[in-house]
Amino acid sequence: MSATADPSTATADPHGTAGHGHGHDDHHEPFLAHHFESWQQQFDAGKLGVWAFLVQEVLFFSGLFCAYAVYRMLHPEVFEYADQFLSVPHGAFNTVVLLFSSLTMAWGVRCAMLGQRNGLIGCLAVTLFCAALFLGVKAYEYSEKYHAQLIWAGADPLTVSPSGMQAGAGHLLELDPEKRAVGEQLEERLASTLHYLEFGMGVVGLLTLAAAVGIYYAKPERIGLAVVFGAISLSAIAIVIGAMASMGIHHMMHASGHEATADSEAEAAHMAEAEDEPPVHTATPGTAEIAGSTHGASVKAELSRPQRLGTFFGIYYAMTGVHALHILGGMVVLTWLLARAVKGHFTPNYFGPVDYVGLYWHLVDLVWIYLFPLLYLIG
């Protein structure tokens, strides 16, 4: 029947109850759904579905890029000013990590298609590791910015509305200049935040590792669960490594003094404040300094920040945050794949899920390929 495949044939056989000439079409195969006629049809449907999903993802991110484009066009000075707070080395490191994870993911798809179970497991594990490493670096960057008061508008006490209304209620940090962290204090706070993170993640990593090993030996039939715990452990450890590595990069840069990172910037601002000099980064005409002439030096240094810095960081956190959420989602599905790969579900006929997750993962990489230069490199 369907093997005749002439489009003008006027009958359809949605059941596939009649004769099947091909070995692949055996409906007793565990992963071939009843409503598909062949592996190929199932794979093609899934693939089109994933592409449609990626279309959806592209348009989802397009909103963020649109907000970015509009604000960048209307307030280029804010983006130029803010650029110095984003650390290129960290961004570059993360870019390479993601590119590498894309390589291992693509390699994993190759392994799955060729039926190489061990290769697939290895590739998926490395991909997962890279994903978590990325998040570790991101965690470092977020805490650094948080401590340097580089926050979105509503949490930034210095973002005041054009019409004179007050900014959103919850001030995360205090305004008092006395309490503002100078460089060293900031460094300490950052380090302590990261230590908490590393400690917490380390504990999670060890506990889940123990759980994984325990399940593997006590209940070998629950291998899937063991893999899930193992994957969590792997991720936690990768996050720790990521955070430590970023601190390393930070010190390296600090020593060589090439990059103005957020805290050194704050330091500079405070130097300026102490010496009562004009602020380091004077705003472009027509944006700030409304009260500059009548105000004490303490406010001056603050107001040298362009008025919409908070909006830039709003966009920054929205873009990288939504991207990070996608990484997290990717880690969840990678863990699921890993468990299935260990169970040996995937065959050259049935590797669709690996391919689909791979496509998703590459799209997440793709978004970062644009985010990195747009946020870190345009000054």
């Binding site: 449907a45 509305s161 709003g314 939504v322």
Partner: protein, 581 residues
């Protein structure tokens, strides 16, 4: 080949009684429904769900129409509801109708049930995702309920900033609910796109697809392409309200007009999510009940796709007075006009289909005829709204309210009702109450016009929308409108009675009670679990002349001897036998 066809027909064609094993009887108990992967059951669950939402939204509509019976003197004067309560009423009416009823209405409820059968497939491509869509709808609806009990919503369904970031009502809950509903809609659309592309059986070429499928397919394109922008908009709105990220809130340096761009990039295409499936339904109804082949099949099919694509280019016509630039206004006005062409084409083609037909006044056709009348008004009143200078005057007045109710309610809801009556026998295996159904169509038609036509006049005179109070000069019109609304409500209740009566008392439905040539009428009513006991015969979906009425079975049966001839003719007409995808 002819012999094969004939034997197949003998197997498939009407049995005159419901088979013992159909999708309704296949599996019993709550879990067999809650965990079902059968698109038909999911469709039925959707149907119950969206109808409940419609009931709720309808109650809010009745309440707000009642409030408008009397004009009030000043802010302290109260008739039934306070100003805040009224603002909540119209917001809830709008939000529930849009997000919970009209967007999932035809595609998710009826489309789910009909699309795979019409296509000749066993199921949609991703049955689990399909069930997931339904549960996402349910979760989204739960958030709406949660919003109702934790402070309500008074932003209008459009959630414009900065009002939505500053009001004290449960905006975040509602917005999160709409966010989830968005994904329900995206997944439904995605599922349908893949189903149409990959699940068509051999012989079902693109140009043998019934126009309902073209409409649902075009709708699905819009759902997948536009809804994600709504999702990110709502996510940013939540972030704006909870964290203050400063993108939309002018107090933090944000831009409310940008929010409107984001919102309408989804919400204008979304009106085509609402109306396109209705076009599909009407194409089916007109052709079946006129006993005519559809006129201009390809023009109608292409116009669906054209409307879906053009629908993306006109969003800023909602913003002509919002402070957007004059240049944008010009561009968007120009593109807005182009969309009227494919729409007009459809109406002309439907009329041409009726020409020299044999028009039956069964309830679905009554609704289809009402649709043509009401939708024509709805469409034509879009013209002064697309014309720049008159839109300035009419924007945000009752004229707009009347216009989109003529399109959304006079269009989509009427088509939804027509479709419900049309496919009711297929879905539940019993006929509805014909006389009551016809009466309901007439009452709904009259009530609808009485409700919304006065609003055109009020709007043109300058009565702004979303007003809890109005000047005394509009009093008579408002009273007329409210009386119309009650009539409309009564009509809808009668329609519900006609349908529900059928479930219990209706006579057993044959496989093909209407004489339609699309595939869903080839399986028994209700359809078996796997849709077809024998493979359906794929042919021209509008070759209605191949069917003759058999009084013995009180059903339509194929005119056997004609099949060969019609096959030959069909191949002449659909020269796209090998187009494939």
């Amino acid at each position: 080949m002819a012999t094969i066809l004939e034997t197949r027909h003998a197997d498939v064609m009407p049995l005159g009684h419901a088979p013992q094993d159909n999708y309704l009887t296949h599996g019993r108990g709550f879990l067999s429904w809650a965990l079902t992967l059968d698109h038909k059951r999911i469709g039925v669950m959707y149907l119950c769900a969206v109808c409940s939402a419609f009931l709720l939204g309808g109650i809010f509509a009745m309440l707000l129409r009642t409030e408008l019976l009397m004009p009030k003197n000043g802010p302290e004067d109260v008739f039934l509801f306070t100003r805040d309560a009224y603002n909540q009423l119209f917001t809830l009416h709008g939000a529930i109708m849009v997000f919970l009823f009209i967007i999932p209405g035809i595609p998710a409820a009826l489309g789910n049930f009909i699309l795979p059968i019409m296509l000749g497939a066993k199921d949609v491509a991703f049955p689990r995702l399909n069930l997931c869509s339904f549960y996402l709808w349910l979760v989204g609806a739960l958030f709406f309920v949660l919003m109702l009990v934790t402070g309500g919503l008074d932003t209008g369904w459009t959630f414009y900033t900065p009002y939505s970031t500053s009001t004290s009502t449960a905006v975040v809950t509602a917005v999160f609910g709409a966010f989830i509903l968005g994904f329900s809609s995206i997944f439904t659309g995605l599922n349908f796109i893949v189903t149409v592309h990959t699940m068509r059986p051999p012989g079902m070429t693109w140009f043998r697809m019934p126009l309902f499928l073209w409409a649902i397919y075009s709708t699905a394109l819009v759902q997948v392409l536009a809804t994600p922008v709504l999702a990110i908009t709502l996510l940013l709105l939540i972030a704006e309200r909870t964290l203050g990220i400063g993108i939309f809130d002018p107090a933090l340096g944000g831009d409310p007009v940008l929010f409107q761009h984001f919102f309408w990039f989804y919400s204008h295409p979304a009106v085509y999510i609402m109306i396109l499936p209705a076009f599909g339904v009407i194409s089916e109804l007109i052709t079946t009940f006129s006993r005519k082949h559809i006129f201009g099949y390809r023009f109608i099919a292409y116009s669906s796709v054209a409307i879906a694509i053009l629908g993306f280019l006109v969003w800023a016509h909602h913003m002509f007075v919002s402070g957007q630039s004059a240049i944008s206004a010009m561009v968007f006005s120009a593109i807005t006009f182009t969309i009227s062409i494919p729409t007009a084409i459809k109406i002309f083609n439907w009329l041409a289909t009726m020409y020299k037909g044999s028009i039956s006044y069964a309830t679905p056709m009554c609704y289809a005829l009402a649709f043509i009348f009401l939708f024509t008004i709805g469409g034509l009143t879009g013209l002064p709204l697309g014309t720049l200078s008159t839109d300035i005057h009419l924007h945000d007045t009752y004229f707009v309210v009347a216009h989109f109710h003529y399109v959304m309610m006079g269009g989509t809801l009427i088509a939804f009702l027509g479709a419900l009556f049309y496919w009711w026998p297929k879905m539940f295996g019993r006929m509805y109450h014909e006389r009551l159904g016809q009466i309901s169509a007439v009452i709904v038609f009259l009530g609808f016009n009485a409700t919304f036509f006065p609003q055109f006049i009020m709007g043109a005179k300058g009565m702004p929308r979303r007003y809890a109070n109005y000047l005394p000069e509009y009093h008579a019109w408002h009273v007329a409108s409210t009386i119309g609304a009650y009539t409309l409500g009564i009509g809808l209740v009668i329609a519900a009675i006609a349908l529900i009566w059928g479930l219990y008392r209706g006579k057993r439905a044959p496989a093909n009670p209407w004489g339609s040539a699309t595939l869903e009428w080839q399986c028994s009513s209700p359809p078996p679990h796997n849709n077809f006991d024998a493979p359906p015969v794929v042919g021209d979906p509008y070759a209605i002349h191949q069917l003759v009425y058999d009084p013995d079975q009180s059903a339509w049966v194929p005119r056997q001897e004609k099949i060969v001839e019609s096959e030959a003719m069909l191949e002449r007409h659909t020269d796209a036998g090998t187009t494939g995808h």
